[in-house]
Symmetry: C2
Subunit: 335 residues, 2 copies
């Protein structure tokens, strides 16, 4: 089909179009799971086990060309390849039990660079507490690594459980990665200490695993999602999956992002809403569980920052400084 004139191309379907096409093919051929515990498009996939727990699996591919901005070292790439998968498990409340890494390497790739990549993979796996059981090595034109995580959860938190009245919260501040990408990709300037602090957010990604699992186990969340596609896109997705809207009363913007925005007279809100790759969790909490949830997050070494409320209807509105509709501004592969 590849060279056929007029044939529909992958690029014109886009990542989500391709996924929809694949899902319909799987379903019509009887290869999909009926009534999955984490229905599409949730952060990970799950299957109920005979003992009542859930097997949770996740795969996300790290591709150097698109996932490693200029200046990112191989050690950080390894950390990121693991972290991007752990963050999705964390959002569902699952603890990873083991990982595999399928590596694609160009022939001329440096062996030392590969070793550093796996040092990052190893350090990250150890940090999050699971072994790398094995993997696969093949030739590819770009360095890429498909990480495959297997985990278990006692209870799962879907994207679809938010109810009007629930408190909307996140596990950290936003904007630093957005500012760092402006520096790394658009070569925008910043004084060295600020530059270093901002770039650290991109080069040292950490997932909120302890918080995510503890919050899910406590039963205090009504919905949860990893924020790595950007806060605006994440909140829109959570709203859509839950069939509600969100009103944002405040945005938790990092001090460094505020400083960078002031320096360049650009919008700090924009950095926070559209940066992406923050690996924070966006969750909703029924108001009566809010106190519990904050305690659980603190006991797990993190925190919950209240940013708004789930409301009837749809869409996401900023209500600080006048009401504005928040555009989705997602980021899609292959478009």
């Amino acid at each position: 089909m590849m060279g056929k004139k007029g044939a529909l191309k992958a690029a014109s379907l886009g990542e989500r179009g391709i996924i929809d096409m694949i899902r319909s093919e799987l379903a019509s051929r009887g290869a999909a799971q009926p009534d999955p515990p984490l229905p599409h498009p949730d952060d990970a996939s799950a299957m109920r086990l005979p003992d009542g727990r859930f097997l949770v699996i996740k795969t996300d591919m790290f591709v150097r060309r698109t996932d490693a901005p200029r200046g990112m070292r191989h050690l950080s790439m390894g950390w990121k390849a693991i972290t991007m998968n752990v963050s999705d498990m964390a959002a569902k409340g699952a603890m990873p039990a083991a990982a595999m890494v399928a590596l694609g390497i160009p022939r001329g790739y440096g062996a030392g660079a590969l070793r550093l990549f796996f040092r990052g993979v190893s350090e990250a796996a150890r940090h999050y507490g699971f072994p790398i059981l094995g993997g696969d090595v093949g030739e590819a034109r770009d360095l890429c690594a498909s990480v495959f995580l297997v985990g278990y959860a006692g209870s799962l938190v879907r994207r679809s459980g938010a109810h009007p009245g629930d408190i909307l919260a996140v596990t950290g501040e936003f904007g630093s990665t957005g500012a760092a990408y402006r520096i790394l990709l658009e070569r925008m300037a910043a004084p060295a200490p600020l530059r270093r602090a901002l770039c650290r957010s991109v080069f040292n990604p950490r997932a909120r695993l302890r918080e995510g699992v503890a919050l899910a186990d406590s039963g205090s969340l009504s919905s949860s999602m990893d924020s790595s596609d950007g806060l605006a896109f994440t909140l829109h997705s959570l709203a859509k999956s839950s069939g509600c809207g969100f009103e944002l009363t405040s945005l938790p913007i990092s001090g460094h992002a505020l400083e960078f925005a002031r320096l360049h007279s650009i919008s700090a809100e924009d950095l926070a809403l559209r940066g992406g790759e923050e690996y924070e969790l966006a969750v909703t909490v029924p108001p009566e569980r809010w106190g519990d949830a904050m305690e659980v997050a603190a006991a797990a070494g993190g925190s919950l920052i209240r940013i708004g409320t789930a409301v009837e209807g749809s869409g996401v509105r900023l209500t600080s400084g006048g009401v504005r509709e928040l555009p989705e501004d997602g980021w899609e592969h292959l478009r």
Copy 2:
């Protein structure tokens, strides 16, 4: 490191050199599993679960450029991507519970071709009896699909358990794929019916899942390995892992391979020993369990063909028509 002159390159390490380097990095950073139930270089990876069973995971990447010979349709590619992973699980006695597929697609790839690829993936998953739970889609320069399988086993069969005196057996005949590759890659001729029959072996790959699981559960195997890297290479690997040698008294060569070899005056043994991609199992059975094992294989819809015996020492010898050492002739990526 990529452009640095004199730096060690991935290509010069070879696939196994890279894997060894990665393993040492994982081990020295505390990210490897101590005392794994299936030690490297076994067909899959495993972890003992609290209930005594084993979690078995496997990933192998299908890359169109290297895994799909000329003439292979997308439906067959999908079958093959699943089958190559299932066969490794089958060899360990594990039943797959679920799969994920991480897909890399070139921008200009045909959507219809992708759909057919996933029709193959779906049909294969259904054939082997597990759902595809999800996956990931990214851009790549070649069509590639990392399949991740999660399965469970009550008991595992390692590569390393063969003892001198054990019977060496395989689950089917060899040689057809080797002949098919001569036709597809070297454009060697064959009458249409023979050509079709031979190519079917490449285009309709089937793993011996029922036999593998039933044999492992029966406890009648001392070792087992998937044969898809070629029979010669497989037997050498099994011998090395077990610390023994093998004497082959006969080779189970398919009638079609014999016919093709006769037609071109080439060695049918060579086709059988070095073809690869057969997805049969090579196993060893203690002599007192041989009767049981044959019955179990038959009850699972297959058969065991006795081809030789495990002996003291090392290496693999053909003893039919004079004794000859069998060269390893493995096939390695990235060399």
